[in-house]
């Protein structure tokens, strides 16, 4: 069992609060991704779980055992660092073997066992030809694999990964992301993965926790994070190009709910109407959230829930094109797949997929849902 529970954890560095009242539960063998921009407090969280950073207040539990004061060596966690942290004066083999040679494990691993295990892990990661090299003779991707191997070699209960692929080029990142996914299936460990890249979060995590400036914004599955963001920060963070967030006003006419801004008036469905009513307060200033892929281009037929504007920029990206449409000094992003023949200045009409419209309260950024 390797359940991790962070209970109201606070971390302060002097007067700066890096983490404010973070509570998070990681189930046994779950792949949890902590997502957030730089400075959000993700690395501090990971370091506190590992035991190399003191907790200002709050508790951390490993399987119902309080580990606040437990030294890192006893916690059965393994960490993969952002800048690899390979021991520069040892060969790759010795780097990988180091965790097996520490006093508390040396008894259970004889010399042959160590060699066998190191070779096994090296084969799994494709670094078996590098065992005699020194760390400064390795490329970034190779160093990252050695760092990962060093964590894997002792089959820990918990893997902590701190932006492990942040410093690699895009192609390698894509490749390794897939490999992580495969490897995580083979290991029976709880994995906590920290990143600022939403793609890694969506593709790897069973559960994603989003942190901004030390505060937890939302915890949910990738689908929930994507389609039911809790606030504008989460909505904006996930997806590229980002979700369109357009300031609008809500009006109720004859029991029907409309959202309007200069240039359009769209009727909203039942769900939104109930949500607004159950909200408790009088909400009129909102953001309309709609992702670029849920806006389509009208093909000429009349449509009352349409938004008309002018093409501002087109960005061809291979199989798809990203078009920025200017509507009354607002830029909407649309994604069009397939062939297109639009150019700058063309008049264009957009139709939003009404099922995918989200409403956010402009005052506090929170999404308006049925309470």
């Amino acid at each position: 069992m390797s359940k991790i529970f962070l209970e109201h954890v606070v971390k302060k560095y002097g007067y700066i609060t890096a983490l404010n009242d973070l509570s998070l539960e990681c189930q046994d063998r779950e792949f949890v991704v902590i997502l957030g921009p730089s400075g959000a407090g993700k690395t501090s969280t990971l370091r506190m779980i590992a035991g190399v950073e003191a907790i200002t207040s709050g508790n951390i539990w490993f399987d119902d055992q309080l580990v606040n004061e437990m030294p890192p060596g006893e916690r059965e966690t393994a960490m993969v660092f952002e800048n690899y942290n390979l021991y520069p004066h040892m060969t790759v083999f010795d780097n990988l073997a180091y965790p097996l040679r520490v006093p508390k494990r040396a008894a259970s691993y004889a010399k042959e066992d160590v060699t066998e295990q190191v070779h096994r892990i090296a084969n799994m990661l494709g670094i078996d030809t590098l065992l005699n090299r020194m760390p400064d003779q390795l490329s970034g991707g190779q160093k990252q694999r050695v760092s990962l191997g060093r964590a894997m070699v002792r089959m820990p209960k918990v893997f902590l990964l701190d932006e492990p692929i942040a410093h690699l080029d895009a192609k390698l990142r894509h490749q390794l992301r897939a490999e992580f996914k495969r490897l995580s299936r083979e290991f029976n460990s709880t994995i906590i993965y920290v990143t600022h890249d939403y793609k890694e979060a969506l593709s790897l995590g069973d559960k994603v926790a989003i942190i901004k400036k030390g505060e937890l914004q939302q915890v949910g599955t990738p689908e929930q994070i994507f389609s039911e963001p809790a606030n504008t920060f989460v909505a904006d963070m996930i997806g590229e190009p980002a979700m369109n967030l357009i300031p609008a006003k809500l009006l109720i006419e004859q029991e029907r709910l409309f959202c309007t801004a200069k240039g359009f008036k769209i009727e909203l469905g039942d769900y939104e109407r109930q949500a607004v009513l159950s909200c408790g307060k009088n909400v009129s200033q909102v953001y309309i959230g709609i992702r670029p892929m849920y806006l389509s281009i009208a093909n000429g037929s009349e449509n009352k829930d349409a938004i008309s504007g002018e093409i501002y920029i087109t960005e061809p990206l291979g199989y798809k094109t990203q078009i920025s449409v200017q509507i009354n000094k607002q830029l909407f992003y649309v994604i069009v797949t397939g062939d297109y023949s639009y150019s700058i200045g063309d008049k264009i009409v957009l139709i939003p997929n009404k099922q995918k419209i989200l409403l956010f309260d402009r005052e506090n950024g929170r999404r308006i849902t049925i309470v």
Binding site: T77, Y87, H89, Y98, V102
Partner: protein, 294 residues
């Protein structure tokens, strides 16, 4: 190619020649400057060593004698004039070796604590240690003498070792602090997470990486201990006398026997010269180490 292109390549080549010639000239000027500096620095040492092999008359002759028949009589006279000289050599060696070992061990441990742990007042302690180097050693001589009298440490090797440690500890701590600060904490954290206890981490990670710095610091300490004069002269008389402290015996009010003095000086200088020759690359590494961080 056209005429303008031809002209352009010609000018470009001329510029290149000017740059190369300029570089060569700079090299020559630097070489000459270095040569002059080397001669100024090394000439006194050369003179002392050469004078040690001359007769008394040859040392004094003006203009100086450059080519001569070397003789060992000055060295013989050294041991005649100072019956203690052999013992002084052994004392110098013993005191230096033990002082350096103890200073390095104690100093490194203190430096590790200052570098790694955020202790209350560690900044103050660091500065306090550094400040002990500001005052000249001779200012402490009388208090030391009085204390040593009380404890019966006058003219003992132990007393001298303690004095050397006192003087050199601040330097060692200061340099080793810089060394440890250059080793990333993250490496030690990785080792701690891997399950190694703190002392194991120091043994397997910190010390191997700090070795060049430790060696450089130890070399500096060795040179300083060997050449230490003030405390050796005042706190020892006969039994624990070291080489530098024995030198004044060759000076007397009436007459200075330069050849004997030179021979004694040579015996003091040469061991350090040989030592420095063999460890020079560690010395250079050490000079650039603490200087940048501090």
């Amino acid at each position: 190619m056209s005429y303008t292109m031809y002209k352009r390549t010609l000018n470009a080549n001329r510029e290149k020649v000017h740059i190369i010639a300029g570089k060569r000239l700079m090299n020559m000027v630097s070489m000459i400057a270095l040569l002059v500096a080397a001669i100024i620095a090394l000439f006194p040492i050369y003179w002392v060593i050469v004078s040690a092999f001359k007769t008394e008359k040859e040392v004094f002759i003006m203009p100086p004698v450059w080519i001569f028949v070397p003789t060992m009589q000055a060295f013989k006279k050294v041991f005649e004039m100072s019956s203690n000289f052999g013992r002084c050599m052994t004392n110098s060696i013993i005191v230096t070796v033990i002082s350096v070992i103890l200073t390095t061990i104690i100093g490194s441990m203190a430096a590790y604590g200052l570098a790694r742990f955020r202790l209350k007042g560690s900044k103050d302690i660091s500065f306090y240690m550094l400040s002990t180097r500001f005052a000249p050693a001779i200012g402490f001589v009388i208090p030391f003498y009085l204390i040593y009298m009380r404890f019966g440490l006058i003219d003992t090797r132990l007393g001298l070792i303690l004095a050397n440690i006192t003087i050199n500890l601040s330097f060692t701590v200061w340099m080793m602090k810089g060394v440890f600060e250059e080793i990333p904490v993250a490496l030690e954290e990785a080792a701690l997470i891997d399950g190694m206890p703190r002392f194991g981490v120091i043994r397997t990670i910190t010390l191997p990486l700090a070795r060049p710095g430790i060696v450089a610091t130890a070399i500096f300490s060795t040179i300083m201990c060997w050449n230490e004069f003030v405390f050796a002269f005042t706190l020892t008389q006969f039994n624990a006398r070291t080489l530098p402290a024995e030198m004044p015996r060759f000076l007397s009010a009436n007459n200075i026997q330069w050849d004997v003095l030179s021979a004694a000086g040579t015996l003091v200088i040469v061991p350090m010269l040989i030592f420095a020759f063999f460890v020079q690359r560690y010395l250079i590494r050490g000079l650039t180490l603490g200087a940048v961080k501090g």
